[in-house]
């Protein structure tokens, strides 16, 4: 087999036993790899209704068929899949760096972690040798510290490590899994699933050769993509980076500010991508095999947050900045650095702090509740202090560590309405009140509030549709984008490189065929994308999620944009949401309840899963 390693590693953390099985080639063709393969395997190895923190919730790590090659941005990704402690449905998150490529060279397409270790352990995968090692001395350490200690004690600088921080150990529901020190499989709380298994880290060394089916044509194609990546399709990522969005979103009045109380931020100029690059970006680096480089490494050289060094992108900048009313980039960078230290999803942590500040300003939480912190919007010291509390589950942080959905329910007194989330996952930096194609994409996203499941915001932000209007036709637009995005996450290429696939699916099919030699058609690739969205939906249906969960945060539906300007008065009504959902389900061939039909599943060769919708 080319591209695929052809093997899956099973690790039972309860018994310490491991074994290897061949990769099912039919699964490979149908679900490609990454999140697609991961979700399909998860369904095989779990029982309906499993608790996310139970040993019976398997954690699946998968790379893609492109991993291990020199394909620009495609050589290096990996994905984690499990039932999420936030959504109680699909949990999935991806990261890039150098970890996925190492796992492929160790000879695995996926690793399935089952059970729970009696004591904290880390897994050391050294090609065919797999060991569970004591992790007592790593407890309480950050992912970066953990990586350093493991490399030191195993005696190899080139070992790659993915680890959880103190937050994952303490089952903080927004805990992430970090590799290569600053690369996070961030969303849906999979670090907490790892923590619940007493699994502190995964260390990998791989020495095997990776070859592709058609090496000469493949290298020609690599050359072509190296050229494309120097062009306009990637310019944003190579120059200002995603932080460029701050001023763009602000001018369109679609940047949620102060926990969705506004859609525009008066301090935007101070936290813009332009200022970030001018004052803080020290170097832009690249992942293994990448020909773009996008990772904007920032250093704070002076002031109270001196010594902070971290990567920065638009989403965490927005969440820790405008969403909390904070207009100081040095504090935002400190917040990001702390998120990496504790192993927290920095988007969610910003949204949680914004929520807490809203509760404080509305008198639902008091200064006493915060152990004396003056938690008003815009207080950068409060931002930093509350993140510390969440990371440690200390004081109010213990409740906030549950995420805004559960925290809102626990706090009560109207706090339920202040937590802005979808399916339990905190919102991201697009104001859904005035971006209605995005609103649909967010509502139906199988992993909760997220821009990366569809990218439907692009239609709204670029003015390709009337962003303030909900109308028929948006369903198919979202569906088509979702099908491409799931393929991107299953092949595992970087979303920042999507613009270089000029013919999108045709180009991706060509890449897949040059690597694997399978010779599938573009049509088959399109169907694989659709199939992966259906398997995700089946995952959620089996776990009890449905139309009722395809909804929008409270404020998006009840608090019209107050700011004078292009978005004033915008919100999404129940009627609009219903119209959008009906349109989307219809374009997917699902029932009005959002359940895939037996005919649809059979059409896609998913006969083996129809029992999920029969019950």
């Amino acid at each position: 087999m080319f591209g695929y390693a052809g093997r899956i590693l099973y690790i039972d953390l309860t018994t310490g036993k491991t074994h290897v099985e061949p990769l099912n080639e039919e699964y490979a063709k149908k679900y490609i790899g990454g999140i697609g393969l991961g979700m399909r395997l998860w369904l095989d190895y779990s029982k309906p209704g499993v608790d996310p923190f139970s040993p019976e919730n398997p954690l699946i790590l998968a790379n893609g068929p492109i991993s291990g090659t020199v394909w620009p941005t495609g050589g290096n990704g990996h994905a984690f899949v499990a039932k999420s402690p936030q959504t109680y449905g699909v949990g999935e998150a991806k990261a890039h760096g150098s970890f996925g490529t190492e796992l492929k060279r160790a000879g695995y397409d996926a690793v399935i972690f089952k059970g729970k270790a009696e004591k904290p352990v880390y897994v050391w995968i050294d090609d065919d040798s797999v060991q569970l090692l004591d992790a007592a001395h790593l407890m309480g350490k950050s992912p970066a510290e953990t990586e350093d200690v493991i490399r030191e004690e195993l005696g190899d600088y080139y070992i790659r490590v993915a680890a959880i921080g103190p937050a994952g150990e303490k089952l903080v529901r927004i805990a992430c899994i970090i590799n290569d020190k600053t690369r996070a499989a961030g969303r849906t709380g999979l670090g907490a699933v790892m923590g619940a298994k007493n699994l502190k880290a995964i260390a990998v060394r791989g020495t095997l050769d990776i070859t592709v089916a058609k090496p000469e044509e493949f290298m020609e194609y690599v050359k072509e993509f190296h050229e494309r990546m120097k062009g306009p399709a990637t310019k944003k990522y190579r120059t200002l980076g995603t932080a460029e969005n701050v001023l763009v979103h602000n001018s369109l009045h679609c940047m949620p500010t102060r926990n969705y109380n506004n859609a525009t931020f008066e301090g935007a100029e101070k936290v813009s991508g332009e200022i970030l690059n001018e004052r803080f970006v020290a170097k832009i680096i690249g992942c293994s095999s990448c020909a773009m480089r996008c990772e904007h490494m920032c250093v704070v050289a002076e002031g109270p947050y001196k010594g902070t060094m971290t990567r920065m992108e638009y989403e965490p900048l927005w969440a820790l900045g405008p969403y909390c009313g904070v207009d100081r980039l040095d504090a935002i960078l400190k917040g990001m650095d702390l998120s990496n230290y504790y192993g927290l999803d920095a988007i969610s942590v910003g949204v949680i702090v914004g929520f807490a500040m809203d509760c404080y300003e509305k008198g639902i939480l008091t200064q006493e509740d915060f152990d004396g912190i003056d938690a008003r919007f815009g207080n950068h010291e409060a931002l930093v202090q509350i993140i510390e509390k969440i990371g440690k589950r200390e004081g109010i942080g213990d409740i906030l560590a549950e995420g805004v959905k559960i925290a809102g329910e626990k706090i009560g007194k109207g706090a339920e309405k202040l937590g802005q989330h979808i399916k339990g996952v905190e919102v991201t930096g697009y104001d859904l009140r005035c971006l209605k194609t995005a609103a649909l994409g967010f509502a139906v996203s199988f992993r909760g509030a997220d821009h990366n499941r569809h990218g439907a915001y692009a239609f709204d932000v670029k003015g390709k549709v009337n962003r303030l209007k909900a109308e028929k036709g948006r369903g198919k637009m979202v569906k088509d984008m979702e099908d491409i995005y799931t393929l991107i996450d299953s092949l595992i290429v970087c979303k920042f490189s999507r613009g270089t696939y000029y013919k999108e699916l045709e180009d991706m099919t060509k890449l897949y065929n040059l690597v694997t030699g399978f010779g599938i058609t573009t049509q088959e690739m399109v169907q694989a994308g659709e199939r992966i969205n259906n398997v995700a939906r089946l995952f959620n249906v089996r776990e009890g999620l449905g139309r009722k969960d395809d909804t929008l945060p409270y404020k998006v539906m009840h608090l019209p944009v107050p700011d004078e300007g292009p978005s004033k008065g915008a919100y999404v009504s129940q009627e609009e949401l219903d119209l959008l959902l009906d349109d989307y389900y219809e374009s997917r061939g699902w029932t009005r309840e959002g359940v895939p039909t037996i005919e649809k599943l059979e059409e896609m060769g998913m006969d083996d899963l129809v029992n999920i919708v029969k019950e």
């Binding site: 050589g75 020495t207 050769d209 190296h226 170097k283 680096i285 990448c290 480089r293 490494m297």
Partner: protein, 169 residues
Amino acid sequence: MVKIHERKFVSADPDKCVGCQVCEYICSLTQDKAFNPLKSRIRVVRINQLVNLAVTCRLCEDPPCIAACPRDSLTQSEETGLINVDEDKCNGCGWCIEACDYGAIMLHPENKVVYVCDLCKEKGEPQCVKWCPEEALDMVTSDVLAQKARITAVKKLFQEAIKESSKAS
């Protein structure tokens, strides 16, 4: 007769190198027909996210690797400076690896003899230089490196004056 040193070797510019490892993939593909950084003659070091550098053989004058070899397996080409490994003589003892200050000569994971950058002599030019997306790699002589360093230092010293003169022109 005084002659400037003409031996060219592959050197990475620390300001441009981003640690992407493309050179490693390309080197192993060229030399071993597979993607495998462990078989690459050029290796990337990332000390932290800000400090990245690809390192390979610098074709030293009077190379310590050759001096260290007890079996006379290593020789240096007078013309190009390339280190040649006699694979029949080398037994993989590793003394040359210890002697090299740059970690540029390594034990091949399969052949069990040492291997080192040969500037892709069969291809006519180093493939890592050709493929580096950042143009961070270059074929240089030690004299050119010194020239570059001097120019950078002087530019730093006279930043203001350079700005003024560029405005004037």
